[in-house]
């Protein structure tokens, strides 16, 4: 349900993040549109994960403003909120570059924990739950149904009762996405979801992300190195290098931007004439899927 009129769901304005003397993100501004997939790309150490941590409240940006707008018009200033409140009220969910599942809990339990706040209310903040209220039991059943629905979508339904830590790597990645979706987010931030996946798995991931975007009222912000994923599914790409935005636009635009090519291939200023050649190399490398 891609909307014709593009409204920003996330607005990042002049965000700077310093760690001591190191400026990991400097004066970054960009927007992510509602119901679109926005990709954040850049070489290693460019500051992508740091941007995610600022958006999800794990870091407080040194300067700048991050605003999130829901479709109903409510606005959240994320730079002022605690991380868990951002997840709970602003409805931003995320996955982690190095997977963070509850490995000693089962796949299903992982998805139940994701529905904590909803179930907490249903259990009368534990009091009614301890007394065995039927209202809570119904809510728990619904929560299991939601979890089941997501397990079907990520094809993990057969592993529902296995410990999350026992899953192979690719399955863990998909479980983490399902867990984030069980919080019913408005903005889903995925930090390198295709890392470590084989080509078949990343093709499957493309499909999953497209399905998530079209079937749910959710916008996706994606960090990814795998160009086949980035170019294949994103509506809009923001390129970072050394903490600064060097390009911003459609995949087609970004792919042919000389600044991006320079950042990725490390071409000197004098060697601009070789850019045309380099652009061709990149186009081949990423595969022309856009």
């Amino acid at each position: 349900m891609a909307t014709a009129n593009k409204t920003p769901v996330l607005t990042v304005e002049h965000v700077t993040m310093r760690f001591g003397g190191l400026t990991a993100v400097s004066d970054l501004s960009f927007e992510a549109n509602r119901n679109e997939i926005t990709a954040l790309i850049g070489p290693n150490g460019a500051g992508k994960t740091t941007v995610f941590n600022c958006i999800t409240g794990f870091y407080k940006p040194t300067e700048g403003k991050i605003a999130l707008r829901h479709a109903d018009g409510s606005e959240f200033l994320l730079e002022r909120m605690d991380d868990f409140r951002i997840a709970q009220h602003a409805k931003v969910a995320r996955t982690f570059q190095n997977i963070r599942l509850f490995s000693g809990m089962t796949v299903l339990e992982n998805l139940m924990v994701a529905q904590h706040n909803k179930l907490m209310v249903a259990s009368g903040y534990t009091v009614a739950g301890v007394l065995g209220s039927s209202h809570y039991r119904r809510a728990e059943k619904d929560a299991i149904e939601l979890a089941k629905a997501w397990l079907e979508k990520v094809r993990l339904i057969d592993r529902a009762d296995d410990p999350a830590g026992d899953l192979p790597y690719g399955d863990q990645r998909r479980l983490e996405i399902a867990r984030a979706m069980c919080t019913e987010p408005r903005l889903l931030c995925l930090d390198e979801p295709a890392a470590g996946l084989n080509p078949r798995e990343s093709e499957e991931l493309n499909k999953l992300l497209r399905a998530i975007r079209s079937e749910n009222d959710v916008s996706i912000l994606l960090i990814e190195h795998d160009m086949s994923v980035v170019m294949g599914i994103s509506d809009h790409i923001v390129v970072l290098d050394y903490g600064q935005k060097i390009s911003d636009g459609t995949p087609h635009h970004v792919k042919s931007d000389p600044a991006v090519i320079r950042a990725y291939l490390g071409v000197d200023e004098e060697e601009e004439e070789k850019d045309a050649l380099a652009a061709k190399a990149v186009a081949e490398a990423v595969g022309d899927q856009a």
Partner: protein, 464 residues
């Protein structure tokens, strides 16, 4: 050790020269130690100091040592050195099916035995006392298990909440109830104070929790330890309020208002049976049994509620919890408060059982023992805790009886003093061979098709 590796490399075939070399080395070192310590004993007779030689003992010990070492060489160290391969696939499912088949029966069986114990024991005082003693620690360990085993927060000051519960009962029943309601209420004091003691302890849990929950791991452990000591020192020094080190004598509990005494208005007369002091102890036994079962069932239910799942998720990964919108501070506080509440209940019971409270009952070693039970039982496992409590508290009792060692100990020492040594040794051995405690498998709280226990090496221990 070189010899171990050598024998392991051949996987099965024994490397006899290496084993013999190792045994000779063992013999040499142990003789070096034993000759001065064991072989001669100085005995003061009436007239002089004489040396008594004890070579038989030396050789008995030496033979034992070598035997154990040989056994280890042949049957333990000889195994292929890949615990992952050995435990994970082939042994895993087989073990699981056995423990899963008997698993559901263990707890009901234990409860049945516990209920029948006074009858099995023929209403003897000693076994009932021991039962009360063990059940108190089972309950305490179940309470601490919420904090340490489920939420993964290392609390070394748990005994503070036990103290709060005990003093709540002592002060309310001896000072405040007579003052507020007159003496008529005193027989009911236990029943009224029990919930109050729990609530006060929970309140203290929250008060302690607020400042310390930003800390993790070692820091959290140290601050909780200090908190435990502070409570004890306040109890010692706030003389006007707590009567200091002299302690407070506490009234006995009654059977819903009927005192356990010989007269016409006593328990025995009411039920038309002959008065016997044992009634009181049987009553206490069932009270602590019911309190412990309450702890068990409430904790079990909590585990299946969002709060319990959040505790376990917190132990697994705090950052992931926050990314899912879980308020981790509140989650930790509830774990502290609910764990403390059960400590408070147990404290209230302890006060009435002892008939006397003093700060001496709430020293650090109590916290350490309760924690040892939780760790030995297997973090998070309620059944494991029962066995650990029986093992630890039972062995403490055993040591009281052992006069066998007496001969070898210096004058005036008591085998009781060695019980910590024995428990320490047992812990070291446990950590070496079963580092995750008796019961390592975690039972999931919800399932779609079948409940499969989660193997212990996937479950995290928390970071404090």
């Amino acid at each position: 050790m070189a010899s171990q590796k050598a024998s392991a490399a051949k996987a099965g075939a024994y490397d006899w020269p290496a084993i013999i070399k190792d045994l000779l080395g063992t013999a040499f070192v142990s003789l070096l130690i034993m000759v001065p310590i064991v072989a001669y004993k100085s005995v003061i007779t009436q007239y002089s100091l004489v040396l008594v030689s004890r070579w038989t003992e030396v050789f008995v010990i030496l033979a034992l040592l070598l035997g154990v070492r040989l056994f280890m060489h042949l049957f333990v160290w000889n195994r292929a050195p890949s615990p992952v391969a050995a435990d994970a696939k082939p042994a895993g499912p087989a073990k699981a099916s056995l423990s899963e088949r008997i698993g559901p029966w263990v707890f009901p069986l234990l409860v049945a035995v516990a209920f029948a114990l006074p009858f099995l024991a023929g209403f003897e005082r000693r076994p009932i006392d021991l039962g009360i003693y063990i059940l108190t620690y089972v309950m305490l360990a179940w309470g601490l298990n919420i904090v340490v085993g489920l939420a993964g927060l290392l609390d070394l000051g748990y005994v503070a909440f036990y103290a709060v519960g005990a003093y709540a009962y002592a002060l309310l029943s001896t000072v405040y109830f007579p003052y507020w309601f007159g003496d008529g209420m005193v027989p009911w004091a236990f029943y009224i104070t029990l919930p109050i003691a729990g609530l006060l302890a929970a309140l203290w849990g929250v008060i302690l929790g607020f400042p310390v929950l930003r800390l993790r791991g070692d820091y959290l452990a140290i601050v909780t330890l200090a908190f435990g000591e502070i409570i004890r020192l306040v109890l010692i020094n706030w003389f006007d309020f707590t009567n200091g080190p002299q302690g407070i004598t506490v009234p006995k509990a009654t059977f819903f208002g009927l005192p356990f005494k010989a007269g016409d208005d006593g328990f025995a007369a009411f039920f038309g049976i002959e008065h016997n002091r044992i009634h009181y102890y049987v009553f206490l036994y069932y009270v602590i049994l019911l309190l412990a079962l309450l702890t068990y069932f409430v904790t079990n239910r909590l585990r299946r509620l969002p709060i319990g799942r959040a505790w376990e998720a917190l132990r697994e990964d705090e950052i992931a919890c926050r990314s899912l919108g879980i308020n981790t501070t509140n989650t930790k506080l509830t774990a502290f408060a609910i764990g403390a509440m059960f400590g408070g209940f147990a404290g209230c019971f302890f006060a009435t059982r002892q008939g006397f409270v003093s700060p001496e009952s709430f020293v650090f070693i109590e916290s350490a023992i309760i924690l040892a039970i939780v760790v030995l039982g297997g973090l998070g496992s309620q059944i494991g805790i029962v066995f650990a409590a029986i093992a630890i508290m039972g062995s403490f009792e055993l040591f009281r009886e052992l006069s066998v060692f007496q001969e070898y100990l210096p004058e005036g020492t008591d085998p009781v003093h060695f019980r910590m040594l024995a428990v320490g040794l047992a812990m070291v051995l446990m950590m070496r061979f079963r580092p995750r405690g008796f019961v390592t498998r975690r039972q999931p709280t919800v399932f779609l098709k079948e409940r499969k226990a989660v193997s212990g090496d996937l479950v995290k221990e928390g970071h404090g």
